[in-house]
Symmetry: C2
DNA sequence: TATTATAACTAATGATATTAGTTTTGAGGA
DNA sequence: TCCTCAAAACTAATATCATTAGTTATAATA
């Protein structure tokens, strides 16, 4: 994947109280992956420049040579996270179509949020419309979903409503799972597959003006 | 509503550069409402003790006489927000049942998130299981939803899956709306009512073991 | 009026992000 | 091989937070 994993999972020079070696050899990729690790392992609120610098064995101002402050780091994290999410759901749906594909994608989506909780959260901030890369990453996921829905023949508008619906379902379910919001001992995988099944059963509604439209 | 609105929408003494009057007469309720106002108007990241103190015309340490630090304020905000949300959706569904009730509640839920964006966000943090008030506020909303679903005769387990589904739909949709995540010029109210319609059409699936259950 | 609980204060500490300006490195050209 | 120099890392400094400790002053009440 084009990345030297040297810093991950180890204490840095500073964390061990040693003197640093002259050049740390950082780049955006290393920063973002290390930050994602912090987000997943320690929580998103621990993703600070101070914490990241410590993990990488440098002083926090040094990070500014590679990213545009904390805001820039967050943007990069979102881009990275959306890319990973896209990879996960795309490969899950690969070779499938119809309900099978949607179910597989849904499972992968939620599993991503479960296994990379911090990184998933970074993808949720409003996609800064000024950042082309971020917008593109968002749109890649969107068109993946749109493709899966072609089969259902919903028409132009119906398709848009359906995409919104499916996104809502996946995001809502993933968020609640992640927060531990479903307390009880009832298998969440079953809940998810039945929710998607219910949605797909009624997906024809997306094309039908209903009596609840104000 | 048992609350003196004296501070809201006005600049404080400090903000106007005057000397303060001896006792500010604060209490938890005033703090929480002022904080909610900041959250809605300036964004949730602006809800700091410093900002809140300035708005109320006191110094930030004074706030500790009423709340348990920033963490405590956030907990109180979540409780308040869940209460307001509960009121909104309960009164929307009042006197209705079946699809009508679910549709009305869904509309009210999303409208709440739209009109009180900051306050809605405060309700999303994991419900600290140590805080009884917070848990109770969460559960009130949950049982409201459960009640609405009685009509559909889903059985014990089916009902639980359905609650999870509906919560996911509402939360997911509301979150995406709030983030401005649905770009285009397509009425979101229509998207929501059709999504709920699709869910209700397929709600029988909640009771049926499907072939996608791993 | 005197007492007293407590609301609000000041002062201090320790995180954090960020900027400015300095040092040092190491890669590529002389 | 040695020099140059862009850039990577640094130190120092500032500003904003949250939080704690200890002080002052208010206003209710005895």
């Amino acid at each position: 994947m084009g990345f030297s994993g040297q810093f991950f999972g180890q204490k840095s020079h500073y964390e061990r109280g040693e003197r640093m070696s002259p050049r740390a050899g950082l780049d955006v990729d290393i920063l973002v992956r290390a930050a994602a690790e912090i987000a997943d392992e320690e929580g998103i609120e621990e993703v600070t420049l101070a914490r990241l610098a410590a993990k990488l064995g440098v002083r926090s101002p040094s990070l500014y040579n590679h990213i545009n402050g904390l805001q820039g780091l967050r943007t990069q994290l979102a881009i990275y996270g959306l890319g990973e999410l896209n990879t996960a759901i795309a490969s899950a749906a690969e070779g499938l179509s119809g309900d099978d594909a949607v179910q597989a994608m849904g499972r992968a989506y939620v599993e991503f949020a479960r296994s990379r909780p911090g990184l998933y959260k970074t993808t949720l901030s409003s996609p800064d419309p000024n950042n082309a890369e971020l917008v593109a990453a968002s749109e890649r996921i969107l068109s993946l979903i749109i493709n899966l829905l072609q089969v259902y023949n919903l028409g132009k508008e119906g398709e848009l409503h359906a995409v919104r619906g499916l996104r809502s379902i996946l995001h809502g379910f993933a968020s609640i799972v992640q927060e531990g919001g479903f307390g009880m001992p009832l298998d969440t995988n079953i809940s998810l597959s039945r929710l998607i099944a219910a949605f797909l059963t009624g997906i024809g509604q997306m094309n039908i003006p209903g009596k609840y439209e104000s």
